[in-house]
């Protein structure tokens, strides 16, 4: 029941925001998102990691087909729900500094998105999952297409069609699996596990899922929609896309792809992991050459996500646990980084490294917080990135030493592009644009300080998050290894 309430809170807040015209809209939106966070923390506190799926709800939905409106929370779900509800207030808050036209619609769409994202992470019915998976796309498409940059139309169009293309194949796979369930067909996700499908059938299902989730994450070479969309979208939409939405792909890989198609994984997993490792190096190398900060972070995000993909496909505890905690860390880091870029851009009207520099003298607070979040992204020990990357690399090494070694380049390359970013934007000579740079205001501090604290918190005490997901991850791996 609590889970259903969690889905409904942002939805209700979105409707109120939509109806209430005027400047109160963003406060209502913020209030709604904080309420969702409070409920999440309450669930967290009551949650028993070893208790399997909890807080379940189930209502008949399309009865003649055995499809139900059902959801529940296990460890994996909880972590990602926490990611969603934790980041959304900051994403909403980050919009306060900007003037958007039709503000009430803008914030309502963010809340609709939050509702759909929570739905994705808690759904225990495969078709309900699919519904939320697609429903999450619609608000973010409108956010980007209406409030985005000058080149938004072709870019968001490509984004929409690209992701829809992938998920239509997932729908085919889900319908197929549904008709393979024995007896009175069921679309419960658990019913899809251990169906005993042949290798050939599993390979096809694997490819369909890989397309859907691989595009969403995105994994090389399905990433071509991603950099442009990140750059053209308004910053809150970019944050939603990179911070939370791509975790739908991670979640789908863990919840659907691995346990449903273990034989498909055996056959194609090697290729998938190689693609992911290529993506790590490719994303990093391109990030090094970027002049536009937003694009740089977009490519760095690609590299990080590909590492998560590699960890998942290695299908061992370290890899999966790493992917889980890295989902959280990456979300926090990337939201922080995009916000800092937004701050710099709104003050200097530029995102280009060559036009910036010397911000450190003008804005010491910004520089310090930027450094902390950036180090989290570089994966320095005692920051959140380290925990995730360490586990992920350990997972990939266990799978194959050589692939692990290549994937390990990410640590060096990330340091190169991130520190280059910092050096060019923050240090150095002041440029014309940065001479009148002012330091953070109260709202901006309200976003960046908690995020920076989280970076350190997760880095110092990751166990709090790891122990939540461990039993659920073990369960998934048991399903994978069962014949």
């Amino acid at each position: 029941m609590l889970t259903l309430i969690l889905i409904l809170i942002p939805l209700a807040a979105a409707l109120i925001t939509l109806l209430g015209k005027g400047s109160g809209a963003k406060l209502v939106a913020l209030g709604g998102s904080i309420a969702a966070l409070v409920v999440t923390l309450f669930i967290w506190q009551k949650f028993d990691p070893t208790g399997g799926t909890q807080f379940a709800f189930r209502y008949p939905w399309l009865e003649s087909l055995g499809i139900s409106f059902s959801g529940g929370i296990d460890g994996i779900s909880l972590l990602l729900v926490f990611l969603t509800t934790f980041l959304t207030p900051f994403i909403i808050l980050s919009g306060f500094g900007q003037q958007y036209k039709n503000e009430s619609t803008f914030y309502a769409l963010i809340l609709f998105m939050e509702s759909a994202l929570i739905g994705v992470f808690v759904a225990t019915d495969a078709f309900l999952f699919y519904l939320f998976f697609e429903a999450a796309l619609i608000p973010v498409y409108f956010l980007s297409a209406v409030w985005g940059g000058p080149n938004r139309r072709p870019v968001t169009f490509k984004f929409f069609v690209y992701t829809m293309f992938g998920s239509f194949f997932m729908l085919v796979a889900l319908i197929y699996l549904y008709f393979q369930t024995p007896g009175y067909h069921s679309s419960d996700i658990n019913a899809f596990y251990n169906l005993g499908l042949s290798t050939g059938a599993q390979s096809l299902v694997f490819l369909a899922f890989f397309l859907a989730f691989g595009i969403k994450m995105p994994i090389f070479p399905l990433h071509t929609w991603q950099p442009d969309t990140y750059v053209e979208s308004p910053t809150p939409a970019t944050m939603l896309l990179s911070g939370i939405m791509l975790k739908m792909g991670v979640y789908g890989m863990v919840r659907f792809l691995l346990p449903i198609t273990p034989l498909g994984l055996e056959k194609w997993g090697h290729l998938a992991i190689i693609l992911a490792v290529i993506g790590i190096v490719y994303g990093s190398v391109i990030a090094i050459q970027q002049r536009d900060m937003k694009r740089l972070i977009a490519y760095s995000s690609l590299a990080h996500v590909c590492l998560m993909g590699a960890g998942i496909f290695s299908a061992n505890t370290q890899g999966l646990q790493g992917a889980m905690i890295q989902s959280l860390s990456h979300g926090i880091n990337v939201v922080g980084l995009f916000f800092i870029i937004e701050i710099i851009q709104s003050r200097t009207q530029s995102r280009f490294l060559s036009e910036l520099g010397g911000i450190t003298q003008k804005a010491p607070q910004l520089s310090t917080l930027f450094m902390i979040i950036l180090l989290g992204s570089v994966a320095l020990p005692l920051t959140n990135g380290f925990v995730g990357e360490f586990l992920l690399l350990a997972g990939v090494f266990q799978y194959n030493n050589w692939l692990g070694a290549v994937a390990g380049l990410t640590i060096i390359l990330a340091a190169v592009y991130m520190l280059r970013l910092y050096q060019k934007a923050i240090f150095g000579q002041q440029s014309e644009l940065t001479t009148h740079f002012s330091d953070l205001n109260a709202t901006e501090r309200m976003v960046l300080v908690p995020l920076a604290l989280m970076v350190i918190w997760i880095g110092v005490y990751p166990n709090m998050f790891l122990k939540i997901t461990e039993p659920a991850v073990t369960h998934i791996l048991q399903v994978v290894s069962a014949p």
Binding site: E63, S64, F127, L131, I138, V161, F169, V172, Y176
Partner: protein, 465 residues
């Protein structure tokens, strides 16, 4: 059965109302007539199988449900006709009467038990539509539409009759049950029977504009007055699909293995031609004509698969499609009315007229967006569940090739449906504020709300059936 009698009487009554001076009564009375027809059909609900008129007509829940979709579509279309009454040239009484008569035809086509009855229904429906297509007397394109529709329709009727004749020769019956009895005996290689079946299907497929019998559709849809295009795209299509379903399910289901490959080929052609051609249209109305072809393709999937769930899938899909199509055409009528005519004196119906619609008319923009997303089959709309149910019948039959192909075509569909959404929300245009008549507004909002409601709670439709 009652709605057929009632609507025939009401049609004549409408003509008399038109003779008197009380033009203003026409619209409310037409709406009332359709509501009465609907209520009279509810009387038979849940009555199991019943046969009327010397076993010429059948009534059961599925038939009533199809009839309901047809009546609902007609109701919404009639409610959007406010514009006639101001037009000096128009003859609203005749239009309303013809629409009511064609409804009679549609209901006969849905409920027939005997091919003679089917042919009667088809002709009642078609002749009324030929006239309505040409109802803008001074518009050359409307004339062209009427003539094309008539010539092609007459030709198709001929083929259909030929098919019925051959089937009679083979089976000795005009009756659905007679066909079934023959099918059960397993006709083996009786060329007369198979030729009859194919010709019968061709005649029927013509009406729902399946490829390669679709060539009339773009010109006729484009040339006819938009309000009658809406009628054609919803009422005629639903009735046609229902008729094909009845023939296949009740007579030829035992020999599914002998005809499904033909229907599958037609389905693939229809999906391909409808979707690919729609991408290249610059006129919104013409795009909707091709989209109507492609939706015939999706409906044909459920007919090709023909499982137990097919009928639910077809009913749901027709309902979702009708709601979305009516609101799309409705918004087109409103928006194209406030734009100047094109150079050749035709109403402007291109995509550009929707530019910037959201800024001035957010409600219309919302209705149009919901309708486009529903036609595209995006989740949270009724259109998604329509596609889902239709595709799951294909999966149940194991027709995965067809399923994947239909999905690919749905991706292509995004290209042209999204084009409208992009124009509405992200482009700048000079649409003034559009005044919408109250009936019209209710229809549009009801269609959008119903589309979202069925998208969220698809069980609503199922629980009724």
């Amino acid at each position: 059965m009652y709605p057929i009698i009632l609507l025939s009487v009401f049609g004549i009554a409408t003509l008399f109302i038109g003779l008197s001076k009380s033009r203003n009564l026409l619209l409310p009375s037409a709406l009332l007539f359709i509501i009465l027809a609907f209520l009279s059909s509810v009387v038979d609900w849940g009555g199991g199988q019943a046969l009327y008129f010397f076993e010429m007509l059948r009534v059961n829940n599925n038939i009533i449900a199809f009839g309901f979709i047809v009546l609902l579509s007609a109701f919404m279309v009639v409610a959007m006709t406010g514009g006639f009454l101001d037009d000096e040239e128009a003859q609203p009484a005749e239009y309303f009467a013809l629409m009511l008569f064609s409804l009679v035809g549609a209901l006969v086509m849905i409920g027939f038990e005997n091919m003679i009855m089917f042919f009667l229904g088809l002709e009642i429906l078609s002749i009324a539509m030929y006239v309505l297509a040409g109802s803008e007397k001074r518009n050359l394109r409307s004339n062209e539409a009427s003539l094309k529709y008539f010539l092609m329709g007459a030709f198709a009727s001929g083929i259909l009759l030929f098919g019925i004749g051959l089937l009679y020769a083979a089976t000795g019956s005009f009756d659905l049950q007679g066909y079934k009895a023959y099918s059960l005996l397993n006709p083996g290689q009786n060329p007369m029977f198979h030729a009859g079946l194919i010709l019968l299907l061709v005649g029927m497929l013509f009406k729902i504009s399946a490829a390669p019998f679709h060539f009339w559709t773009p010109d006729v849809y484009d040339g006819s007055p938009t309000i009658f295009t809406t009628f054609m795209a919803t009422v005629v299509k639903t009735a046609g699909v229902a008729a094909i379903y009845r023939v296949l399910a009740e007579s030829f289901a035992p020999i599914h293995s002998q005809w499904w490959i033909i229907l599958a080929t037609i389905t693939i052609l229809t999906l391909l031609i409808g979707n690919i051609s729609a991408v290249y249209q610059s006129s919104f109305k013409r795009m909707l004509a091709y989209s109507a072809i492609s939706h015939a393709g999706y409906l044909l999937i459920a007919l090709t698969a023909l499982t137990e769930k097919s009928v639910t899938a077809i009913i749901f899909y027709s309902l979702a499609y009708s709601l979305a199509t009516i609101s799309a055409f409705g918004v087109l009528i409103l928006v194209s009315r406030v734009h100047p005519l094109t150079e050749d004196g035709q109403p402007n119906e291109s995509f550009e007229i929707f530019n910037g619609l959201a800024a001035k008319n957010p409600a219309l923009a919302f209705v149009l967006t919901v309708s486009m997303l529903s036609l595209a089959g995006i989740p949270l709309t009724a259109g998604f569940w329509g596609k889902f149910l239709v595709l799951s019948t294909a999966a149940e039959r194991g027709l995965y090739g067809l399923l994947v192909f239909a999905m690919l075509m749905a991706v292509i569909g995004l290209f042209y449906y999204l084009k409208v959404v992009i124009a509405v929300y992200t482009k700048e245009g000079e649409t003034g504020r559009i005044r919408v008549a109250p009936f019209f507004k209710i229809v549009l909002i009801a269609a959008a709300v119903a589309t979202i409601l069925f998208g969220l709670v698809p069980g609503l439709v199922e629980s009724v059936l």
